[in-house]
């Protein structure tokens, strides 16, 4: 179940995105296997977040440029953003996107929107079923809050929490929907060293226990290099490297992209 011919979870082929004259993504192709943690790195403005936005349906390549994005055999370019979420692609955002005015529990419950399988007005037509659905949803939400060790905060207004904890709540809100592909946009940004360590363990745990595929955009190199199976490197909208972490670290092209050319040689 869930895998197409090559057990690819995600298949991106020749995707180009332009903003006016700027080419944000230049004929990018990449394939991510089921259960893989893929690191996606590159200097600022190299197109990492744009890539996530293409996968989650916010940006769309224009037809003249061609390009394909398939997830478990489904054509993502034909789906609306919320439909992409429904078929199992969850994501977090670079700038914290905790829902204001909601408690931690309510934030996580919002992530269960598609799972609460009652109609929008079922609370009139079948109140008992609606109540039991809500109770089940709450159980699931608490389960995931325990998973990230945040259950004691369930009744706090989410935006009152520390930055690191808000990041965790956002992750929980995405995880609770059981995504098969998880797009994480700089989850470690602004976290303390201890929190990054926690995130590291969490990502491994998500891969093993939730069996989710993860596409991780991140600037914290230690984290990316430790958790990723494969690392892809973007620079100026082009893919310049794709290999195992150790190889990528040694790749002269990658070093040049990050530190510039060595003038002496």
């Amino acid at each position: 179940m869930g895998a197409d011919s090559d057990h690819n979870n995600l298949m991106i082929k020749d995707v180009t995105i332009r903003f006016g004259g700027l080419i944000a993504l230049n004929r990018i192709s990449m394939e991510i296997k089921d259960g893989e943690i893929r690191g996606l790195i590159g200097p600022n403005g190299s197109g990492k977040t744009t890539m996530l936005n293409v996968i989650s349906g916010i940006y769309r390549p224009v037809r003249e440029d061609g390009g394909l994005v398939y997830f478990q055999g489904k054509d993502l370019l034909k789906l609306k953003p919320h439909e992409i979420a429904i078929i199992g692609i969850g994501r977090t955002f670079q700038n914290l996107c905790i829902l204001k005015g909601m408690t931690v529990l309510e934030n996580v419950l919002t992530g269960l929107h598609k799972t609460i399988g009652t109609g929008d007005f079922s609370f009139i037509l079948s109140p008992r079923k609606t109540r039991s659905m809500e109770e089940q949803a709450k159980d699931k939400a608490f389960e995931i809050l325990k998973f990230i060790r945040m259950d004691s905060y369930w009744n706090h207004i989410a935006t009152d929490l520390s930055f690191g904890n808000q990041r965790l709540v956002e992750l929980a809100r995405t995880l609770v929907g059981n995504p098969t592909l998880l797009l994480l946009d700089e989850p470690a940004a602004g976290l303390s060293e201890a929190e990054v360590k926690l995130l590291h363990d969490l990502l491994k745990k998500i891969q093993q226990e939730k069996r989710a595929t993860i596409l991780l955009v991140e600037h914290v190199m230690d984290l990316v290099m430790e958790v990723s199976d494969i690392v892809t490197v973007f620079d100026f909208g082009a893919k310049i490297a794709e290999n195992e972490p150790i190889e990528v670290k040694r790749d002269p092209k990658v070093i040049e992209a990050y530190f510039g050319k060595n003038e002496e040689t």
């Binding site: 989650s56 349906g57 916010i58 609306k80 953003p81 919320h82 979420a85 429904i86 969850g90 994501r91 955002f93 996107c97 829902l99 204001k100 005015g101 909601m102 408690t103 529990l105 309510e106 419950l109 919002t110 992530g111 269960l112 929107h113 598609k114 609460i116 009652t118 929008d120 007005f121 609370f123 009139i124 609606t130 109540r131 809500e134 109770e135 709450k138 809100r173 995405t174 929907g177």
Partner: protein, 321 residues
């Protein structure tokens, strides 16, 4: 445990006695006071819809005054011209207005913030224009008289009759809105208000929920508009202009955006206040009213409910059961 039981028991007693007082009011107060209380109930109904749309859903639309007018005109015209009884014409008016709300949602799906505000102002003006100039049907700028609602239980002048109807509908509207807000619909609306891209990433179809919000505000405005025409015993186009919209905004702002309890508080205060300022202060009424709104936007932007919630005097309204 006994303490909890005691407090919930005293709460029950308090709410039952409050309910009895509300029900007995028509036999205690005079016609004018009864009229004002009726108006409060009607404003509660219309503002609940507006608060779902703006306070929860974040849709900054000026369409509610038009919905209110369409509800009033539809049911009043059906009754005066086609002799359809109120028990049928008010629901028809409400459903028709809800349908108009659904239609307005269609352009609103593509627009946000100030652009949505502008096209809905246009819609309210257009509706007013129709009330004024489609004379053959609407009687034009002079308005028209509306017969009273008669239950057949009380003797004339029928204020009691409409009182119990508005009371019952207001209670239903409050309960229904609470249920709506505590379901996945309420959470989806708040998610859309906070960030549409995040809402979509959480599998929320923003089209569906914006349509639900507009239709709901249309439905409640339609019902309350019909009741308003009967209460006034008159249907008059200028009752449904942009000032009506300002009054409704004032009610939910003073009470608290995104709160059912706040809607009750705001609708009550903003309905009563102009009445209190009548008499010696009539000349200054609008100035005082404007000053009040200024005060609330500057010092209490979260409204009275938000303020007392911050003080810890009341509990926060939950978005889940």
């Amino acid at each position: 445990m006994t303490f909890v039981n005691k407090s919930s028991l005293s709460k029950k007693i308090a709410s039952i006695s409050f309910f009895i007082i509300i029900c007995a009011l028509p036999f205690v107060v005079d016609r004018y006071v009864l009229y004002v209380i009726n108006l409060i109930f009607i404003n509660i109904i219309v503002c609940l819809g507006l608060n779902v749309l703006l306070g929860y859903g974040g849709q900054f639309a000026f369409s509610n005054a038009a919905f209110y007018g369409i509800g009033a005109y539809t049911s009043a015209l059906l009754t005066t011209r086609l002799l359809i009884p109120y028990w049928l014409s008010i629901p028809i008016g409400a459903i028709f207005t809800a349908f108009i709300g659904l239609l307005i949602a269609l352009p609103a799906l593509r627009l946000k913030g100030v652009y949505l505000a502008i096209i809905t102002i246009g819609f309210t003006h257009l509706t007013l224009w129709v009330f004024l100039h489609w004379v053959k049907v609407t009687h034009g700028g002079g308005g028209f008289e509306v017969p009273p609602l008669v239950l057949g239980v009380f003797a004339p002048p029928y204020e009691k009759d409409i009182y119990y109807i508005t009371l019952a509908i207001a209670i239903l509207a409050v309960l229904f809105t609470y249920k709506l807000i505590r379901s996945k619909v309420g959470r989806a609306l708040v998610a859309i208000r906070e960030n549409e891209i995040v809402a979509q990433a959480l599998a929320i179809n923003i089209t569906t929920y914006k349509m639900i919000a507009f239709t709901y505000s249309g439905l409640l405005a339609g019902i309350s508009g019909g009741l308003f025409a009967i209460l006034l015993r008159f249907c008059f186009p200028e009752n449904f202009d942009l000032f009506q919209m300002v009054m409704q905004f004032a009610m939910i702002m003073v009470g608290g955006l995104g709160s059912v309890m706040g809607t009750l508080i705001g609708a009550s205060i903003v309905t009563i206040l102009p009445e209190l300022l009548r008499g010696p202060f009539t000349a200054y009424m609008e100035i005082l009213f404007g000053a009040l709104l200024l005060f609330f936007t500057v010092f209490m932007p979260e409204g009275i409910f938000g303020f007392i919630k911050k003080k810890g005097w009341v509990k926060r309204e939950s978005l889940c059961t």
